[in-house]
Assembly symmetry: D3
Homo-oligomer: 242 residues x 6
């Protein structure tokens, strides 16, 4: 029996609050909080329009080594670590996978993804691929991957290796329990310790941005409206009163 650690889930209020923060706002604010680049390059939105916020379950793949991963083991599903990665799923979870950028391995297929969805999972971020993509796209999960493939998870060059350990998802370190904010611009990792600060900064709603966008769309000048110049400030306040 394989035992893997679960993650510590964040205060639901934190997740709720961050739901109003886009990946773009998050990345910019995290940059100001000292994180140079929180964006996971490589995985792109496979389900355009989906946007998710939640804690990260992590799964690490390693290069395949035949002495450690033979046919007999494959015959015993319970030894497959990519299954174990999904076992602790709770509603609102996001699974993040270091699949080493492989385009030859379909990390999850329809059955795994259906199970994950059935357990309440909401998003999948993989530095690699899924398979059974026509079906997977209909599940209502948010999917961010490098692509799709017909190959199964351990068919060629990588094997699932560890669950809920720190992983490198391409250029970004993800700790189990960090928060993921993902939408059409991509997936951003929010270190759990910085999440409250991000919530404070990212949540400051900018009423004037609505006004600015409107004026710019009408042909107004950046110099005047973005950011608001002193002259535009008065105009904005008049507009807001209405």
């Amino acid at each position: 029996m394989i035992e893997t650690p679960d993650i510590q889930r964040p205060d639901p209020a934190l997740i709720e609050g961050l739901r109003h923060v886009s990946s773009a706002t998050a990345s910019g604010e995290l940059s100001r909080l000292g994180i140079r680049d929180p964006h996971i390059r490589g995985p792109v939105a496979l389900t355009p329009g989906m946007s998710v916020v939640g804690p990260a379950l992590t799964l690490q793949f390693m290069p395949k080594r035949e002495d450690l991963y033979n046919v007999d083991e494959y015959a015993d599903p319970e030894k497959q670590m990519h299954r174990h990665a999904l076992y602790p799923t709770q509603p609102g979870d996001i699974v993040v996978v270091d699949a080493r950028g492989s385009l030859s391995s379909g990390v999850f297929g329809e059955m795994m993804l259906t199970f994950f969805k059935g357990r309440g999972g909401i998003g999948v971020v993989i530095d690699g691929c899924i398979r059974d993509s026509p079906y997977a796209k209909t599940l209502g999960l948010g999917l961010w991957t490098r692509g799709v493939t017909p190959n199964y998870h351990a068919q060629t060059d990588i094997i699932p290796f560890a669950v809920n350990v720190p992983i490198a998802c391409n250029n970004v370190l993800v700790m189990p329990g960090d928060i993921i904010i993902a939408d059409d611009d991509g997936a951003v990792v929010v270190p759990i310790g910085l999440a409250p600060e991000l919530l404070k900064k990212g949540g400051e709603h900018a009423d004037w941005e609505v006004f600015t966008r409107m004026r710019l769309a009408e042909g107004g000048h950046l110099r005047k409206y973005y950011p608001l110049s002193a002259e535009a400030q008065a105009e904005y306040e008049a507009w807001r009163k209405k």
Copy 2:
């Protein structure tokens, strides 16, 4: 007059049977039959939702060499080998092209593709690009390419060189007459000699998969339902009776 070989087409029953086998099922089964990776990486679905199964006509490009391919030759369409690749087209054929991964060459444009479609061709798999893509996507052909380009086939770095010879389509060897199975997960090459075996394996419909998928979607556990545990087996049989 250029003479090129035609391919030997498979038993229609074989194609008919394989129509029910997805690229994902095919890749997994071929892996078990000893083919490590039958998936052609690089070309991706340009016409999402299309899925095709058929025998491969092949076309090989080579690096352009000006002493072999000059302006005068270009003036004589009958010397263009990419035309000859399409001449033997029969209904149900798929053309597979080694275009050396080039993003600077549009292997086929609207006229070639219209002709191919008019002759009954159903799919195009190119380790490279097409052009006239807005029109091409409306033809009803399945298209798998690395991308699109406005350039014509021999504009920059490659030239069409040979028809119905063994080709390397990126990481996969394709023999003329092999069977291609392509859908949104990608294109898989089925060596013609393994096709009957694949048909047998891939065609074993798994009634229980429908049941399993349903249970997983309802929150059932992988351990119980995938594969079916002894406990779930009884439940499945009861369900099937209904």
Copy 3:
């Protein structure tokens, strides 16, 4: 106060005429006029179906160097050159950006793009990314980029450096004021000096192409209909009379 040059805009009739020339026709004809490869590889259509023709405003990014670009400067928006790139926008303009192929920098976000659209801009071609893509795609601009990112323009490795200077947009040299023709096949640069010649060549409408396409779709042979053989010529003329 930063002063940057404006571009010289072409005769509106030239633009009007080229509106009927696809990027594929343009690339082929420019090739025959001596330009080996006018296609900007890398940026792809982010707004499928959009097609634009117009003069190029140019913006050059350079690798970030902290002694030249520090936080204090960032605090003063007027020193941000990517804003200045958009200031001279006139109706029908296209902005072309050498962003060094970066996938870590969102060259423009919603505010910049809204301003550009508000001023009459019609297209954006970037050897790099934008951010706020869900909103950006709704603006009615034609967008050709390498991808999207949540990062802001100077967050990681590049900074905006110069406006309306000659730039390298990946593999293609773009001079300020050159004409861009972009559609789903990609973006092509028309050197301003060659534009009148291209207009002449590319505009020669080929009535017979409609006929040929129809015949090919019906199963007619390339040899007969493309180009028109002597035999098909008569058939075509009969058809045209109707």
Copy 4:
């Protein structure tokens, strides 16, 4: 105080025996023992002519994350994991580093390498770079790296993260205590469990290879001498008697 595990070192006789096995022989034999590709691609010989065999200490780098690795920590050398990787060094050890292929980080410099050599270390294999290379090359260590750089280990994009854990050294999984065989052809990982078998196979000296090489050099034919044909067998035995 940071505690990291040490490795279990192999029977010295095993190492002694494998010293007569080249990386080429090892790779071929491991392939026949079921390991598809034991060669670590990427690192190449920086000290041509050096050849080493020994157990692997491992060091894992991860993407830099500023909230986990700030300037203050850097000020305390004892928190630097790349130092800890070398602390357990015993004579004959080889350190293997997953530096994520980075060309921007010099994993070890002169002081680290001098210490490693002083403790009896014999080889360094890095999927990344060293710095202070002019000095490093004179130390008498065998060095296999992707290149050299003037940057220090944590200057840009990666940080040392864990010691003597399983690592991915580019395409190969290395377990702490596996045996490394490295020479001018590259570095090969021998899973410790397969080492005795490799010793048996790789150690079978082929007297006839000396004979064959001589005959081929004189213009003898491959068909006759490699492998030895029946005809050549007699000739070989006559030669051996002399």
Copy 5:
């Protein structure tokens, strides 16, 4: 019994004459004869200082396909096409290999290369690797490769497929019997039909180049001495008289 074609060897006087033409001179002159880029990018000099000129034997690798290349076949050396590539070797021959840029396959090892040398072969150009490199470098052959590896030729992803057919050696088309000129700057393919013309152009010795180089080394100006200005012409003629 496998039969493969031999190549037609050029007039020895042609080879003799081209021996005085460097790869740099050849590339420039071929460019003026209409060949845009005759340089095979990828393979670099493994044996610095060696320079060879001779006709090309060609060998084509293809992606490995397990149904066509199984263990039993490997057991029969005579079915190995990379052996057949060397069988027709005559003194002065150069073998050129399309190994698909693979860094995981050692196309030739010590025995093959010793045989090739024993038969009079002088150079090896591979878009891929060799193995047994320490020994190979001592053989007196000129070697141009992408690198070295301990793996054998068919260990991982490619297999030898055809002998003396047209091949793509990375970016260049090589016809069997074309002439190769290779030195420290790299390997250039001279289409056999252009060889006489190249000999004429490349062989025009420029006496004044010696003079120019001397003057430039002394601090003379490019404008005056390269090419020779009218003023320098007189100086040169005076120098030549001495």
Copy 6:
């Protein structure tokens, strides 16, 4: 007559002082002065053992565009900008070239390099290649390039475009007149404004480093000797007295 700007050369004392600072020391100190990565990745030492310090002349290449760079212009050497880049050479100068990473263009050949050496130039850093490398390596210049090629500077895809303008040398911005420090670890750009500060920091000779290196080589522990512990401090002072 083409006029290009010259650079402002630094105080000779600055160069003299920096001659004792290695690229590794420079990169580390510049990092502490706020420059994240001053190392030009890509170009590597072609002349091992050479080390140079001097001001940067800059040369920018752009993608080739046939309407701007035709055969006739090539016929007039004075229009070749890569010649103009070398005209202002003064003793101690280093020329830095953005050749766009091209492996198909030999930026300088023997004549250009001989002239540069004759004028007192000491180093060449190219994000691209040179040609005539066997001769070039004997000139006594320090050369850092991506490789070598037989092709001439404008043969394929790039053309020389501007002299002594700001350039991007791969990942680093170089301003004309910045200082280059290059040795076997690579080439580092020192922004001219930071050079005095670097001189101060990098020049602080660390006597104890000699002592530390000695102790480490003898098997001393990093913890004790690097940096010097209190215990080692006394030992060091005793050693220094001798």
